[in-house]
Symmetry: C2
Subunit: 411 residues, 2 copies
């Protein structure tokens, strides 16, 4: 099996990466763009060549089914999203489709028709990179995408979402709350987009949960003053206020340890010039954890700390929590299945959480779902330099193949 897969993995990654390839070496493949359409059409042909039964749903999710002999209406689904970020890498999303395709190809050759139907899914959209909407593909599959949410959104060039969709022959579902009822399990293989596997020396991550996230915009208002003529004791220096908040909060996050992460990613002082005491700072906070109660209590403590620091310094603070997403645990049985496979196949795996969002978080609350991670070199992603060693890609395909075998071929 091994030699063939190495070749297949490499040739399929470069084949699919031609759709939307950019000079820097990565890809830009935005929802309902020509590159996106070409990629879906080419995949459809590829699926048919292998003998899968293909179909697009209304919005453009592509399916390739190997119909089961005994339980054709019990679908074991695997795949990921076909869209990319602007100037993204050659693995994020679409390698999960390639991996599912290669797994099914091997299983069909080796074992013929499965008991249950295996469906390779190429989801229309996950990144939210063209329009301000994420998970359009998986949300449509599960009846969660509402027509009115996208009715008035446009891309950066001013093209309405609806025009882009209809221009390629796709459209809204008749009933946007209709959900697929036939999916018995969803297994998504994805690159880690972090460096835990690489750092810890593992080749496979079995994901136990996807973190919850809280994101904030915070504005701290002090007083802008002349940097020379204003004595220290007169000042309400907003950058100093921010620095105290950041220093204390990150120290608390460091003390809390995994799986908590806390990031002050954006900092915009006003007026942002060398010789003026900053009168205002707008900054963001992003906090993630796998346990919802912990995430809530930790961020509430930080919010209180910030307010206390602002109060002590005589400054105003406005804390706007604009994202509050709950953690999503993966299906325990399915996680155990993947873990058992890794052990049986002697794969160098670890159990881990996902710090990033994935289509699986849309599936998991509704359908038994699990994820397999493969390492990202240096953790780099959303970048043309995104890379995974070929042998790690192969290990991922092997683990996924075994999982689909167990779920679709065994009683």
């Amino acid at each position: 099996m091994m030699e063939n897969i190495i070749q297949d993995v490499e040739s399929n990654v470069s084949w699919l990466s031609q759709f939307g390839s950019v000079p820097s070496g990565g890809i830009t493949r935005l929802l309902y763009s020509k590159e996106w359409f070409d990629a879906q059409q080419a995949l459809k042909q590829k699926f048919e060549d292998m003998g899968l039964e293909t179909s697009f749903d209304e919005v453009g999710n592509l399916s390739g089914k190997l119909i089961g002999s005994q339980h054709k209406d019990q679908v074991i689904m695997s795949g990921s999203h076909i869209d990319s970020v602007v100037n993204g890498g050659n693995l994020d999303g679409h390698f999960g489709i390639i991996a599912a395709y290669l797994a099914v190809q091997y299983l069909k050759q080796q074992y013929g028709t499965p008991l249950r139907t295996i469906e390779v899914i190429s989801l229309a959209e996950e990144e939210g990179s063209r329009f301000p909407y994420v998970f359009w593909g998986s949300k449509n599959l599960l009846g969660l995408a509402k027509k009115e949410e996208v009715l008035n959104i446009k891309d950066a060039a001013g093209t309405p979402f609806v025009d882009a969709m209809r221009g390629l022959g796709f459209d809204f579902k008749q009933d946007d709350s209709a959900a697929r009822k036939d999916i018995k399990a969803f297994v998504e293989l994805h690159i880690e987009q972090g460096s835990v596997l690489e750092t810890e020396g593992n080749t496979i991550g079995v994901v136990t949960s996807i973190v919850g996230q809280r994101r904030y915009n915070i504005t701290l208002k002090g007083e802008a003053n002349h940097a020379g003529t204003t004595p220290m004791s007169y000042r309400k220096d907003a950058v100093y206020g921010f620095s105290r908040i950041c220093t204390e909060s990150i120290a608390k996050a460091n003390a809390a340890g995994d799986p908590l992460v806390l990031t002050f990613g954006k900092v915009i002082p006003k007026p942002n010039t060398v010789n003026v005491v900053p009168g205002e700072v707008m900054f963001t906070m992003d906090c993630r954890h796998t346990d919802q109660a912990y995430l809530k209590s930790f961020t509430e403590e930080i919010e209180k700390d910030m307010q206390a620091i602002a109060h002590e310094m005589g400054m105003e603070i406005v804390i706007d929590r604009w994202m509050d997403e709950a953690p999503v645990p993966m299906d325990t049985d399915l996680v155990n299945t993947l873990k058992d496979i890794c052990e049986k196949e002697q794969l160098n795996y670890r159990l881990m959480h996902s710090g990033a969002g994935h289509d699986s978080q849309i599936f998991a609350p509704r359908i038994p779902t699990a994820m397999l991670f493969i390492p990202s070199i240096k953790g780099i992603s959303h970048n043309p330099a995104e890379k995974t060693k070929t042998e790690d890609l192969v290990e991922g395909v092997k683990a996924l193949t075994q999982a689909l075998y167990q779920l679709a071929y065994q009683n």
Copy 2:
């Protein structure tokens, strides 16, 4: 005297503020602009109407002299700069010219011809707001402006400095190192541009020295990473590094107290986005003190602290000190003269340093120099809202008048 001065102060401020007035209520009067030229020409006429002997030097500094009867070559000079920042206020710079003019007007009426020559000076430029060059006026007067320093500089519209100057009939001095030798004293009245006088309840500040300044551009290089997939222990978060540096340094500056001031005015993280651990931060540091040795030792300690924090966090730091200006003490005898006048006139004064730069710092190392400050409401300056109470403007003119009387009329 009082009633006349109130009227004169108010009418002269509004008269001179018409040259370069902007809709927001302030002025924009950049070096060698039409507004600048009109203001200088109008002042020249005003000086002549009062019986002063006027002249422009080569570069456009305007003088109005009341010639002394006994020591005509011993010049007591007073004035300030005629240029403004973009969208500046109605006092910064030019009120020092108005004050000197009003003082001479009063002295001439009251006492006739002085023993020594009094020269009202309207300096061509101080702010550096049109071209990247400051103190063009005072530096030319003292033979410190070098031709080659401005030969290739341009304004934002691409106009060469030289073209702007020559377009109005001005030019370089034949010998750019030639300095005025006849100035025996320079007294500059200026708004404080800070809120010390207002806060402490004084109407006059007698300036003892102008602070030295050290300014830095600092780049702290960590590692940009995904805010979700990168555990805290893996991170090299440059914003956290900056925050630690800022927090510790400002705490030290607060402990050091007056006259030390320390400002981190500009902070630019990369990539500056909510869900990426910042990989780099460029920030500025501005430190000022009246004592050169203290300024040096304090900033060197902060530099070491920064390096230690960067080292501890595994980050690179590049510290670029691009400005290192020594403090400039005012002339002790002249400071005492001003102090004695304030006491004799029962003016509500205080001795203080200047945290901002002024033309006086160019004069002081070469010529006995002193400054008088008057309060700025809320410390606001470089802004159309720049304001001083009329009674404070008048107190300033009174103090300056007494000083010029003592220096020019007494033996």
